[in-house]
């Protein structure tokens, strides 16, 4: 009889303890990130698709059109083209295209790049409506966005633009 009452009372008490925990959570601030409006900063070692690095001093690409990345790529998804120009030392980059449909994100291109002209982007908002949307013109993107930390409200926006 005593054991029975003890069990009933301790059981009831445990229910109130549980309720106390949830009500404390109820009044604590929300911890979720409201995704399309807020995003978390990506980890430094996050490997997105590659992008060209904008040089801090010149504001141009550091690419010297050596083609090492193109050779290193096991899936042949990088196309680099350049031309000689009057009064400029070395070659000038005219085309840098990444076919992301084939990229396996191995990072051999980034490793092989001597002037450190390419890096992994932090872009994970990669929804698109067609296959062509994933053929990235990285040279055009270099001039249009200070790519790295820019947050886009809806992920597919720049991909859709790239398609049009």
């Amino acid at each position: 009889m005593i054991d029975y009452l003890k069990e009933v009372i301790s059981g009831t008490w445990s229910l109130f303890v549980g309720l106390g925990i949830t009500i404390r959570y109820f009044f604590q601030p929300v911890v979720t990130v409201q995704y399309p409006y807020q995003t978390l900063p990506m980890a430094p070692r996050f490997r997105g698709h590659i992008e060209l690095v904008k040089d801090e001093e010149t504001g141009e690409t550091r690419c010297i059109v050596c083609g090492m990345c193109q050779k290193a790529c096991p899936s042949h998804c990088i196309t680099v083209n350049g031309e000689k120009r009057e009064g400029v030392q070395g070659k000038v980059l005219t085309e840098y295209t990444l076919d992301f449909t084939r990229c396996s994100l191995c990072g051999l291109c980034v490793e092989s790049c001597t002037p450190k002209a390419i890096t992994f982007s932090k872009d994970y908002n990669l929804a698109g409506l067609s296959k062509e949307a994933y053929i990235f013109d990285l040279k055009a993107e270099l001039s249009s966005l200070p790519a790295q930390t820019k947050l886009m409200p809806f992920g597919c926006k720049n991909r859709l633009e790239a398609k049009n």
């Binding site: 229910l15 549980g18 309720l19 925990i21 959570y25 109820f26 604590q28 929300v30 979720t32």
Partner: protein, 336 residues
């Protein structure tokens, strides 16, 4: 031809009661989602209207525009009337509930009995719907719902009988009238009648949870085991009406708990708190919504019990204690 004012009054109450029940059914879903979210430290509905307040409206439109599928092999009559059989008793119960001294559709002398009776009829709707669905999960669910109803009706009614003995009436308005003047006069703290009164309130509350099929006693709707229990075959507004009935029953349960134990429309501090007055419908609604808040709070705190745990709780704990309370109360009434 002159219209009897009584008829106009009844019509007004009829419309009011249906509106109140539907409004609550819609916005308790919103409250449930919001409260669940905050207990889990999320935000919950927030896109549709300010604080997601238009969400129930959108949900309603969605449910109404969906096709009402009547699966082949169901009993078409039972299948179609079952949702209504759940909704109607809930709305009927509102007729006798006094929201304030004057705000009551029909002040019946046997109001408490009427509500207890209608509370059981809604289980009949569940059973018919499950049987008519011709679905094994639905039938298992109905079986569970019934043994649950039988088990929890007993302690609930024993507690109600105790309160009827203390009050000496089954008229809800009079029961509230006896609890006038400060929270220490409410039945929950009526220790002169029985020292076990707070326990009696607890038992009543637990039985109310079980009677309204709320977690942790939602065995009849256990979605991880029984798909959606008795509602498995229902789609669109058939499902919607079932849900409205469930929420209306929660409101009824909270109203009855407020009337029996928490002093109905009386202010807890009639002399010290100036606002809302000593007796007003606002106090009633505050207490009622606090109970509903607690019901939702419990749902998002405790996991579902096992079925045997559920029956053992009733037969081994709630029923013995409620009988002890009944005997104690009658002895104290006799002695003092």
């Amino acid at each position: 031809m002159t219209l009897d004012p009584e008829i106009i009054r009844l019509l007004a109450f009829l419309v009011g009661v249906i509106a109140f029940a539907s409004f609550n059914a819609a916005y308790l879903v919103w409250l449930e989602r919001k409260e669940a979210a905050h207990i889990q430290r999320r935000i919950g509905p927030k896109e549709v209207g300010p604080f997601g307040l238009l969400q129930p409206l959108v949900d309603g439109i969605k449910l109404m525009t969906k096709q009402l599928i009547v699966p082949a092999g169901v009993d078409p009559v039972l299948f179609k009337i079952a949702p209504i059989l759940v909704m109607v008793p809930a709305i009927m119960s509102f007729v006798t509930i006094p929201f304030s001294e004057t705000l009551v559709a029909r002040n019946l002398d046997l109001g408490l009995l009427v509500i207890s009776a209608f509370a059981s009829v809604n289980f009949l709707g569940l059973l018919l719907g499950a049987w008519g669905s011709r679905n094994k999960y639905a039938v298992i669910s109905a079986g569970r719902a019934f043994s649950q109803n039988v088990a929890y009706e007993i302690p609930m009614l024993v507690i109600v009988v105790t309160l009827v003995m203390v009050s000496g009436t089954m008229n809800l308005t009079e029961i509230v009238g006896l609890q006038m003047g400060g929270f220490w006069h409410w039945n929950i703290l009526n220790l002169a009648a029985s020292p076990l009164m707070p326990v009696a309130f607890l038992i009543f509350f637990v039985c109310m949870l079980a009677e309204t099929n709320r977690a942790p006693f939602d065995m009849s709707e256990a979605e991880s085991e029984l798909v959606a229990g008795a509602f498995t075959e229902y789609s669109g507004m058939g499902f919607g009406v079932f849900f409205m009935g469930e929420y209306a029953n929660i409101v009824i349960g909270a109203c009855v708990a407020t009337i029996l134990f928490l002093g109905g429309w009386h202010s807890p501090f009639p002399d010290t708190i100036p606002f809302f007055g000593a007796s007003s419908v606002i106090w009633f609604l505050l207490k009622m919504y606090f109970i509903i808040f607690t019901v939702i709070w419990i749902r998002w705190t405790f996991p579902r019990t096992t079925f045997y745990g559920l029956l053992n709780l009733s037969w081994k704990i709630l029923i013995p204690i409620s009988f002890v309370n009944l005997i104690l109360t009658s002895a104290m009434l006799k002695v003092f």
